[in-house]
């Protein structure tokens, strides 16, 4: 049960969060092909290694956040863009 660094609450147990997975950019709904749209809905890269993920602190601040997690070691760190945004 790993710890997730929440920018609002600090390091918290992963059980407090809902896992939302790799962010999938939403295609322009007026021009998207079915393949593009269903890729957005269902297809993820599922990389073995560092992955940017979205988590939702459901039992805490109720904010969505980005972290970088190595799926082979479960090493988690705050996502760079979020860090830059905040500092």
């Amino acid at each position: 049960m790993m710890l997730i660094p929440c920018p609002w609450c600090g390091h918290r147990d992963a059980a407090e969060f809902a896992y939302l997975g790799e962010p999938s950019p939403r295609p322009d709904p007026s021009t998207a092909t079915p393949e593009q749209w269903r890729g957005y809905l269902y297809l993820r890269d599922n990389v073995a290694g560092p992955v940017t993920e979205r988590w939702y602190h459901r039992m805490g601040c109720r904010r969505r956040l980005l972290v970088e997690r190595d799926t082979t070691t479960n090493e988690v760190r705050p996502h760079r863009s979020l860090v830059e945004e905040e500092s």
Binding site: L3, P7, W8, H11, R64, P78
Partner: protein
């Protein structure tokens, strides 16, 4: 089929094996008690384990082995003892050599028939060759039609005790618990090194959780005698005096997971059966000690063959003599100490065989008790006790869970962890990593504890530094950790695994060394394969006693080295844990509206709907329906989800999440809307009112309240953070009351003096705010789920009961009555209003829910739009229709299928009720498009096998399809 578990049998020997008072004994001779074993009463002292109390009375056989039903006695006299699994009252598989005996406890042997002494399944010994390696795979292969017969056979031979059936299971007697702990340092193991580590860590400022499997701290010092007694007392005294150390005895660390999430099972508590402690330890110190390893030889499972530690535990802790005439095979100083202990208490040590000088034993004679032993030099010695001290296994389980691969050290004859592979937040000390004198062990424990404390501070700083805060800096500079203390010395030990005969390797699973040799010969030449083929290490002991012997024997049979063969993988949990502890206490909070007490006082039948308890009906749902159709009724609709939306961008949000158009909703208006997910499936529906320029009140279904809230937040936080919208969940801030029926306006007018209720001034689908029964800040809107003229009143929750009672009082002359969820379901079904989740499912897109007209595909964007566009163009999806059964009394059960050609499924009934208004059934169904036109005849397959015919009606509404009542 349950065979009779046991029958009182011939009186066992009750000769006393209890010794004089021993200096370190843990029994309380001033607290004698009695308990029963297989129906007979036995004496014991407080502090006895079940096994020690029975052994003190001369009992030597505690169980029958798994496959061959051979008699089994004490082997380790510890938690791990594979021969002492017993049934205690209604609890099966109790570790009899660990569980403390209690007054009146009813203990029985497991899986023996007709009795422990005479067990017919012992005949398995005679047919042993049919139960050899891979028995299950070879015997029960096929044909598959025989599987039911195989299962019956296997069932009778299944190991384990009996769980109580549900009727006799007393829920009030069984409680399970969970706890969260956040120690700086968690020490797994309360022997000398673990105790020293805990003390040093606490002295360095850390909070410490010290976890010990046994009932008291001390580890091997507890039976160490004169030399260590004062040292143990001093360590215990210091720990008792250290407030920063919390000690959990009779508790085991089950596993270590990411970021040192450590699970601990705590047993032996006065008020709960078991507690699961979830500890987030900044550093973990593994001080698991060593486990003594059995020796493999013919007859090594005959009752009376014991490990040296078992002998010392029995003598020193429980003052029980393990036998009368002993032969000892020893290879280390602990064997010497066992010999000394036996002699001290008057057991005749008739022969000592020293493996350090080439001594060995060949086989033990006897079936239900040891009668003698054959030595390697050909001599035969009569005895009733054979003690082995042939080596140790390091319980590296927790360390391997952290990624350490143990390495075989031939000089020490055991696998040892390579602690250089450990992550910063784990350290190890004591027997699991090395040997040494008591002083060396304590010094190493202290050094390890100090490092653990400083590292825990580093880990804490790392956590804080790695958490980006709003405006704070992220310091990613890695702070180095203090190095681990120098390693402990490791003593040489002869490699002893198996004598020249074959014997039992896995005592739990009854797997012998010849089974393993057979498995290798049949091609299962790796330890992992041989393990699975023979089930060695897969029983209750889970390899803690036998893994290294398995590896050694596989290595011998394959001609490889032990290191080349390697160990099998350790996985959590380290010790058994009940499902009750994992599940924890039953905590399912129920939400109650402020009116629920009133409902219960007025005879409501409770209905648990999602998180809420609601009134299903007040005795006569049909009368409640008629009251609403003919006069006026009140229903408590507090559970409907309510969200306040504020901000200038609310219309953009509404346009995005609803399939219909929202940009032009005027102040004072209410609109119905449907939400779809991005795959076009209907997510929720409800009405939203515009109360002021930038202020809206949205309602959702009761079950969808949380989902919709998260759905809105998800769009606002991830796709449109620039939008100015604030969402506040207010479901429980309001009590919601729906006043429905042709006389509802008349009733509401009596308690709402300030709002003009005339149909022209307050028409259908409009909203007003005002006072109700003197309560300010209420919201009223005109909507109609029931199909009647109705007003939904949202009242500050604290005044809900007041408003409800005011309405009941004001409407007594109008015949007002409360109606429940059942009446509401009938009313809405008569009107043809769908319920999301009831008349739709996880595949129902908007078009299939009869919502085609609502969907505005010309809107530029909304959630799910592309899928609805494509569905509109290409597919001919199922549709929601209303059915009229040919026989008006037939109410097909919800979920009944609609079939053609006898059995081809074309749809299903989603809602059905008998309509009190129409005197016939009313039915909604999902139906394949070609059958869904009005007038189409369909066949319903009823659950009782009969068929019913029905016809698709024009539109969904059966009552007031024109909506005159609603709009009146």
């Amino acid at each position: 089929m349950t065979p009779p578990r046991w029958r009182p049998s011939a009186a066992p020997s009750t000769m006393s094996m209890r010794l004089e008072r021993q200096p370190d004994e843990v029994i309380d001779r001033d607290a004698p008690l009695t308990f029963t074993w297989n129906g007979r009463t036995f004496p014991a002292y407080a502090g006895d384990t079940i096994a020690s109390a029975l052994a003190a009375c001369g009992v030597r056989v505690f169980s029958r082995s798994f496959k061959y039903h051979r008699p089994r006695g004490l082997l380790t006299a510890s938690y791990l003892d594979p021969g002492c699994m017993v049934q205690v009252d209604d609890e099966p598989n109790v570790r009899g050599a660990h569980r403390l005996v209690e007054p009146g406890m009813r203990v029985s042997s497991q899986d023996t028939w007709p009795s422990l002494e005479v067990d017919v399944k012992a005949a398995n010994q005679l047919v042993g060759r049919f139960l050899s390696a891979g028995f299950y795979y070879k015997t029960f292969m096929g044909p598959s039609r025989l599987w039911p017969a195989y299962e019956k056979v296997l069932e009778r031979f299944a190991h384990g005790g009996e769980i109580p059936d549900l009727e006799s299971y007393d829920r009030r007697r069984h409680h399970y618990d969970k706890r969260h702990a956040h120690p700086d340092v968690l020490v797994a193991g309360g022997g000398p090194a673990g105790m020293a580590a805990a003390l040093a860590a606490a002295e360095a400022g850390a909070t410490v959780l010290l976890v010990e499997e046994e009932h008291a701290l001390g580890g091997h010092l507890r039976w160490g005698g004169d030399d260590v007694r004062s040292a143990l007392a001093e360590l215990r005294r210091q720990i008792e005096g250290t407030a920063a150390i919390e000690v959990l005895t009779d508790s085991v660390v089950l596993g270590r997971y990411d970021d040192n999430w450590v699970s601990v099972v705590q047993r032996g508590l006065p008020t709960v059966d078991e507690r699961l402690v979830k500890a987030r330890a900044k550093t973990l110190v593994v001080a698991a000690g060593l486990v003594e390893r059995p020796y493999v030889f013919a007859g090594n499972d005959v009752p009376g063959v014991m490990l040296s530690t078992a002998v010392r535990r029995l003598i020193e802790l429980h003052a029980v003599s393990p036998g009368r005439r002993a032969v000892v095979l020893r290879a280390n100083p602990d064997g010497d100490a066992a010999v000394a202990a036996l002699r001290r208490v008057g057991v005749e040590v008739v022969h000592v065989e020293d493996a350090r000088r080439g001594g060995d034993i060949v086989r033990v004679r006897g079936r239900d008790r040891v009668r003698g032993v054959h030595l390697a030099d050909g001599r035969r010695v009569a005895c009733d006790l054979v003690v082995t001290a042939t080596g140790w296994t390091a319980p590296v389980s927790l360390l391997t869970m952290a990624g350490v691969v143990p390495v075989y050290d031939a000089r020490a004859a055991r696998f040892r962890p390579d602690t250089t592979q450990l992550p910063d937040n784990i350290l190890a000390t004591g027997g699991v990593v090395g040997d040494g004198t008591l002083d060396e062990l304590i010094a190493h424990g202290e050094a390890t504890g100090r490092v653990a404390a400083t590292r825990s501070a580093v880990v804490g700083r790392r956590w804080r530094a790695a958490s980006p805060t709003a405006g704070g800096q992220v310091d990613s500079a890695a702070e180095p950790c203090e190095a681990s203390p120098p390693a402990l010395p490791v003593d040489p030990h002869p490699e002893l695994f198996r004598a020249r005969t074959h014997g039992i390797v896995d005592f739990s699973e009854d797997v012998s060394s010849s089974d393993l040799v057979t498995a290798v010969a049949e091609g299962y030449a790796s330890a992992e394969l041989a393990k699975r083929y023979t089930t060695a290490t897969m029983g209750p002991v889970q390899g803690k006693l036998e893994t290294v012997n398995v590896v050694a024997i596989v290595a011998e049979a394959t001609g490889r080295s032990i290191q080349q063969t390697g160990t099998t993988t350790w996985r959590p949990p380290y010790a058994p844990v009940t499902l009750g502890a994992l599940a924890g206490p039953e905590r399912e909070p129920v939400r109650r509206s402020p009116l629920q007490a009133w409902h219960e006082q007025h005879g409501a039948t409770p209905l648990v709907a999602g998180a809420w308890v609601r009134p299903d009906h007040y005795g006569d749902p049909a009368a409640e329906v008629r009251a609403v159709r003919d006069g006026v009724g009140l229903i408590d609709v507090t559970p409907i989800g309510k969200l306040e939306l504020h901000g200038p961008d609310v219309p953009r949000l509404l346009n995005l999440v609803y399939v219909n158009r929202w940009s032009k909703l005027a102040i004072g208006r209410v609109r119905y809307g449907v939400m779809c997910a991005e795959d076009g499936v209907v997510l929720d529906d409800g009405v939203t009112a515009r109360l002021a320029e930038h202020s809206y009140l949205m309602t959702t279904t009761s079950s969808g309240a949380a989902t919709v809230w998260e759905w809105l937040e998800s769009w606002l936080q991830t796709e449109h953070p620039e939008w100015q919208v604030h969402v506040t969940a207010v479901t429980t801030a309001y009590a919601s009351i729906n006043v429905a029926g042709p006389r509802s306006r008349e009733l509401v007018r009596r308690v709402v003096p300030d709002v003009d209720l005339d149909p022209e001034a307050f028409p259908y689908m409009h909203v007003r705010t005002g006072s109700i029964a003197g309560v300010a800040d209420c919201v009223l809107w005109r909507i109609g789920f029931t199909g009647e003229l109705s007003y939904e009143l949202h009242v500050p929750a604290g005044y809900g009961l007041h408003v409800w009672e005011s309405l009941m009082a004001a409407g007594s002359d109008l015949g007002v009555r409360a109606f429940g969820v059942e009446a509401q379901r009938i009313l809405r079904l008569e009107k043809g209003h769908l319920i999301v989740g009831q008349d739709t499912d996880g595949l129902t897109r908007a078009g299939s829910a009869g919502l085609d007209g609502l969907v505005k595909l010309d809107k530029e964007d909304f959630a799910g739009r592309p899928e609805l566009v494509w569905q509109d163009r290409v597919a001919d999806p199922p549709r929601l229709v209303a059915l009229r059964t040919s026989d008006p009394t037939v109410v097909p059960v919800e979920g009944s299928q609609i079939v053609t050609d006898g059995s081809h499924i074309r749809g299903r009934i989603t809602s059905s009720r008998m309509s009190p208004t129409l005197g016939r059934s009313v039915v909604l169904a999902q139906l394949d498009a070609p059958l869904a036109d009005a007038g189409s005849k369909v066949t319903i397959a009823m659950v009782d096998g009969r068929r019913a015919s029905a016809v698709v009606t024009e539109g969904l509404a059966q009552v007031d399809p024109e909506g005159e009542r609603l709009h009146g």
